[in-house]
Symmetry: C2
Subunit: 444 residues, 2 copies
């Protein structure tokens, strides 16, 4: 009997655990679900005969190490900063490990020790990073194997609402970590276009959007991600003239989000001083010039050059930023205060279903023809708790566990799913589970 340990039973582990339990009988697996919240672990196991729930705290090194040591493969769905501690236990206990997160610098130092020990530390195996790597590399490798030469690579992903549940003026609710959404893009964004490096400071990011269409799902806008350049090395596209990675939103989102950025409401560097008794209207006013004779709405429109009846003002009004309701926080930065508001306004309602959207465009020359392939994926959430996010993060991880335990995935040390030996079997099985890309190639 092979033993699988899942650390962390949160929302994004739900589909992963379901898949492993569903396949446990055929494969003679025992699936242990470990969480600080025992009741949550128990509910994920749902009484399955091959499942077992345990309570577990990473801060207790003795029992963490012991728990990990009694399994063949560990999936860490804990917060990303904990992965390298888990990896050290896996090294001690000679146990494989899989995560859906970016390889941290600390994790990277464990590559050598993992190779020596003969264990695999497989990372970046969720949706973004994960499905993006696999589907991109399949396209890239396919073009190169035919002798094609790639000139442009653009790839974007978004976590949005399924159209049927997309019912607020922002066309957005929180399906990913709210803090990451509020702070997205801070710093400087970098990409390269036709050989020209491009740098966009945070306060311009949401004005520098592009537009794209996903067949059957309409138009989206794309804002640039922080560092598109590092993907040149990861994908072996070192001399490519154009590489761009972005985040997808519904049209109009970025212009309105930019208004919050311009006001200063996404700043996370200073705490607001006089929160006690402050209303949302006063919060908004604290970013505007002093003029008690002028309405707050008018000052916002003048400051940001907005139309009073325009779409941006409608979105700001819908958030309640001009209301006399109290902020009800004791202290916080503008970003923390805004996040608090958005967590209420952008909360998922019961029955809401989300949607993960991903699109790659690759332009290449093959036999003197300039071509462009567009590959688009849309995954919608299913019955709770299987959100599109849980499905697209959990399925690749779950499939990798199976392939690792059945010996189809081999290798030791740090691994990303960028090699055909890993991405081909995973993508094939994702397809049979409804996670597939629609490809369209045009001659330009």
């Amino acid at each position: 009997m092979q033993k699988i340990l899942i650390l962390g039973a949160g929302m994004s582990s739900s589909t992963l655990i379901r898949y492993l339990l569903d396949h446990s009988g055929d494969n003679n697996w025992q699936v242990t679900v470990a969480d600080r919240d025992y009741a949550l672990a128990l509910s994920r196991v749902g009484g399955h005969s091959c499942g077992r729930a345990v309570s577990f705290d990473m801060n207790d090194p003795g029992s963490s190490s012991h728990l990990i040591g009694s399994h063949d493969v560990v999936v860490s769905m804990l917060p990303a900063r904990m992965h390298s501690r888990v990896a050290r236990y896996c090294l001690e206990q000679r146990c494989h490990m899989i995560t859906a997160s970016y390889v941290s610098d600390e994790m990277r130092t464990l590559d050598g020790p993992a190779r020596e020990t003969g264990i695999a530390l497989i990372n970046e195996l969720g949706v973004d990073p994960g499905i993006d790597h696999m589907s991109s590399m399949k396209l890239v490798d396919n073009i190169r194997s035919q002798g094609g030469s790639i000139q442009l690579f653009m790839s974007s992903t978004g976590g949005l609402m399924a159209p049927e549940y997309d019912n607020n003026p922002w066309n957005y609710k929180f399906t990913w970590n709210p803090r990451n959404v509020v702070l997205a893009g801070q710093g400087m964004s970098m990409f390269i276009r036709n050989g020209r490096y491009k740098y966009i400071p945070y306060h311009q990011l949401f004005t520098r959007t592009q537009s794209t269409t996903i067949p059957g799902y309409g138009r989206f806008e794309v804002y640039p991600n922080r560092d598109s350049l590092k993907y040149r090395e990861i994908y072996g596209l070192e001399n490519i003239p154009t590489i761009f990675r972005g985040t997808l939103r519904r049209p109009g989102f970025c212009e309105a989000w930019n208004a919050l950025v311009q006001l200063g409401m996404t700043d996370n560097s200073q705490e607001i001083k006089d929160l006690k008794g402050m209303s949302w209207r006063q919060f908004t006013n604290s970013f505007l010039r002093y003029d008690p004779e002028e309405k707050v709405e008018n000052k916002v429109c003048q400051y940001l050059n907005l139309k009073h009846q325009g779409e941006v003002m409608k979105k700001l009004q819908w958030l309640g930023l001009f209301e006399e309701q109290p902020v009800n926080m004791q202290h916080g930065t503008p970003a923390q205060i805004l996040q608090n508001l958005l967590e209420e306004k952008w909360a998922l309602e019961k029955g809401d279903k989300d949607m993960i959207v991903m699109q790659h465009k690759i332009r290449y020359t093959l036999k003197d023809q300039l071509k462009e392939v567009t590959a688009s994926m849309v995954v919608k959430g299913r019955e709770a708790p299987h959100t599109a996010m849980a499905i697209t993060v959990g399925m690749p991880v779950a499939i990798a566990v199976k392939l690792l335990l059945t010996g189809i995935i081999k290798g030791t040390g740090i691994q990303l799913p960028t090699r055909p030996a890993m991405y081909n079997p995973i993508l094939r099985e994702l397809e049979t589970n409804g996670i597939r890309f629609t490809e369209n190639t045009e001659v330009l």
Copy 2:
């Protein structure tokens, strides 16, 4: 004989050293000037019979401690981050210390030990901080002693060029630390106006300027400093409805600087990737949308909504940002690259003289009358190396050394020059040296 040690013989120590040497004969002082650069220390002493130059490296703890121990008072003109190390040596060796810098958190922890040891650690005794504290507190204390109630406190300082040497389109050259000028205002600025807290994010800072006039010197613009709020506690103005501290520039500077901020050229978070062989025109273009058909100048005007023939474009053009000249750096952030350019364009020419400008406005009610006092100071540079900066930073420090050694300044522990016992004698002697405020009180 009393012994004075000056650590650091840079430009800003020049007037300080001159004053102390000039007064050394009458007071029976020995003045030691210590610097890593022995020749520089020697040139500052200029062969004076009461002066002595020594070479000195803070990284050599034994000789640093020994050097400090053989003096009665130490003036640290070293970079601010070194002051707390100097202070520790002063504690060990029971020696007073004076700096022109803000009290750091680390310095603050030495207050108790300094009191126990019976030594004074006097800080914030340059121009800003320094002369600003003393002149403000004199006004504030004077109003309060008459029974007045203060409603508004605004104070601004600028290091600029004397009008006769103010000969470039920016009306600006570097007379202070260039790095601090390039990065000024990053983060969020905070002040309070008529009881309303105001927060300005960096990317709006240079659009939120005010205007003021200094009699005989014309108009200036003022942008808000980072944290005006902390001065409420320092000046005992806890419940004041309006407090604002700012930086003075000549009109038009802020609008043009804002263009650099909006482009992203002051970003210090990411290194530019392709500096090798890059021209200034390409550097500018890397912040603009990709469009090889469009002139870089046109793209800047469209992006920032500027007039082609306007003052801002003239200033950008004067900097050479549209030239094909090479950037000539191997690596760097946009802010570092811009600083490199500005250090060339905004360099002081031989014979150039600078100017320090400071202005306070205090509005108060006294015997049912609403009044406003405006106090303005202008100090121009004298013959090299006595810049206005060196004079205004060095003179208060030098006078404090004298007052400390003659027993007029007393007290132990961390001290700021906000008490009458310290600011009155220093301001009096500054006046006799031509550093004085012109006051004007109006009934509103």
